[in-house]
Amino acid sequence: MMTLKINGKTHDLDVEPDTPLLYALRDELSLNGAKFGCGLGQCGACTVLLDGQPAFSCVIPISLVQNREVTTVEGLGTAGAPGALQKAFIEEQAAQCGYCIAGMIMRAQALLAVNRDPTDDDIRRHMQPNLCRCGTHTRIVKAVRRAARTLRTAAASAADRG
């Protein structure tokens, strides 16, 4: 029995320990945000956060992530109440086919957790491991910038109220 902590919830799964985390998410838990792109850690469509760090879930066996915090795009918000990055991606229409976007959002999430005011260069460098075949990159950069702005504004108004 494998125990996974995903988006704050604990799941016991009866699967082989060498099952890739991505398969467990999609096939066992119906968390279909993370995508299977290459299956070889080349494209980033499967990116999730592991203890806050972006990681390729397609090349990580679940035996390695027992009792560690896994965050998927479903953990950032819902269609009704999207998180800051999800909202920004919608507002900037930063998707063409959309296949890479869950991975893009998760990688961007890791950046915004440590840097609320990234430059375009910071964003490009940080997002570099994730590929988009449609060429939506400029909109993705805009969306990350927009989300950073939203988070800064929210933090400033929270401070004002405090």
Binding site: P20, G39, G41, Q53, I60, P61, I62, S63, L64, R125
Partner: protein
């Protein structure tokens, strides 16, 4: 009285001689600033570009995301941090005011145009062996780059290392200005290789161990050194290669960044082979021929290499090990690296051929697993980094397994400590990627 005066005169004379000798050793004149921009035949510039590529000049003289040759890269040394200077022809911050004579003096004697001594982080102990017309070609190449205004940050060196005149003493001890003499017993290719490897290419700067004063140990050439936190493996008989290097395999590796029996260039060696793209084929052959002669594997190593090759395919049939690292390997590594009963979907190096796993310390293996390998654009698939995926404990377990399963060597002394040390000390490449 008279004796006393003679004594004083003798002492004075000695002092004068010592001071004069000191000045002669330390003092170097400032050379006149060039105010005109020289022009060069395009053929000379092209030749200089190829030579600068072999010299790997761009790697140290460019900071992360910086303009090529505009300097500012931090070079960590045991004595402190030195920042590479701008070598574009900018008049204020670069070498725009340098004559060819000033450039030649810097390359051969490690002296800046204004007369100050340069730190030997700049490998003039190798460049000094270059022929003047090659230095002139590199000068022509540098002077025809786009000038960039960029001042390098001041060096961060504690006393006494920040006192440049001391470098003159270092040079007295360690700077051997004698040009490499051709060995008439060897052919022209070997001699060309010797000239490049010992001079411009400065391979020993990383692959030869250094003494307490930071000079290469001339009695242990190519016995293995260090570069930006990576182990630069021994190239001599102590080479960790599973299958001994020969000229043909060295050529593959240096020309294409990959050899089927050794794998892909990684770490600080990756930019070296990327730069060699611009080098003429016959120079890459010459470098390979000379380094192959440095390697000189023992008959035992040759035999071991043949054994490794013979059992390569056995790994695919090997039954899964019950080492706890085997489960990590099967889950995270086997889909590319194969073996242990799974055939690879994406053939990466069979780890039985890995030099990294046969090195005396696991540092390079730790870096590769954590940071991955990103070949030059289009040169092949990347190896993803597993920094976020593996805890320190998991990485340690995996390394112990890889060492015994694939290298079949005695265990590394303290893998956990090495993992911990490497974590606290990310390489420049990894730092700039963060």
């Amino acid at each position: 009285m008279r004796r006393g005066r003679t004594g004083i005169l003798v002492i004075l004379a000695v002092v004068v001689v010592v001071v004069a000798a000191g000045v002669a050793v330390v003092w170097r004149p400032s050379l006149a600033r060039e105010t005109t921009t020289p022009s060069f035949p395009s053929q000379q510039v092209t030749r200089g570009a190829a030579l600068a590529a072999i010299g790997n000049c761009i790697t140290c003289h460019t900071k992360a995301d910086g303009v090529p040759f505009a300097g500012g890269r931090a070079i960590e040394t045991p004595f402190g941090t030195i920042y590479s200077v701008n070598v574009t022809p900018d008049h204020d911050t670069g070498i725009g005011g340098w004559s060819e004579a000033a450039f030649r003096r810097a390359m051969k004697d490690g002296v800046s145009r204004d007369g100050h001594h340069l730190y030997p982080a700049f490998p003039y102990d190798h460049m000094t062996r270059m022929q003047d017309d090659d230095i002139a070609a590199v000068y022509a190449f540098m002077m025809t780059r786009r000038p960039v205004h960029a001042e390098a940050p001041p060096n961060d060196l504690p006393f006494p290392f920040n006192f440049r005149p001391l470098i003159a003493g270092w040079k007295l001890l360690f700077l051997d200005r004698d040009a490499t003499q051709p060995d008439t017993a060897k052919g022209p290719e070997w001699n060309r290789g010797a000239y490049l490897v010992e001079g411009l290419a400065h391979c020993g700067a990383c692959h030869t161990p250094r003494n307490a004063l930071g000079a290469e140990k001339t009695d242990e050439p190519y016995a293995g050194g260090e570069s930006d936190g990576w182990i630069a493996p021994a190239l001599n008989a102590a080479s960790p290669a599973a299958v001994p290097w020969d000229a043909a395999r060295l050529y593959n590796y240096l020309r294409h960044g990959f050899d089927a029996m050794h794998g892909i260039a990684a770490g600080p060696m990756a930019p070296v082979v990327n730069n060699l793209d611009a080098a003429p084929d016959k120079d890459v052959h010459a470098i390979a021929a000379y380094v192959a002669d440095v390697v000189r594997p023992t008959p035992e190593k040759q035999a071991e290499g043949r054994k490794v090759v013979a059992r390569l395919d056995d790994h695919a049939a090997a039954s899964p090990s019950n080492h706890p690292g085997a489960a990590i390997y099967i889950g995270a590594c086997a889909q590319c690296h194969g073996s242990l009963g799974r055939s690879p979907a994406n053939p990466a190096l069979n780890l039985a051929l890995s030099s990294t796993l046969r090195m005396p310390q696991p540092d390079n293996a730790v870096r590769i697993i954590r940071e991955g390998i990103r070949p030059a654009e289009g040169a092949g698939p990347i190896m993803p980094g597993f920094a976020a995926a593996l805890t320190e404990q998991q990485l340690t377990t995996l390394l112990e397994f890889l060492r015994s399963q694939f290298a079949r060597q005695s265990p590394w002394p303290d893998v956990a400590a090495s993992v911990h040390r490497t974590l606290g000390n990310p390489t420049q490449e990894a730092r700039s990627a963060q």
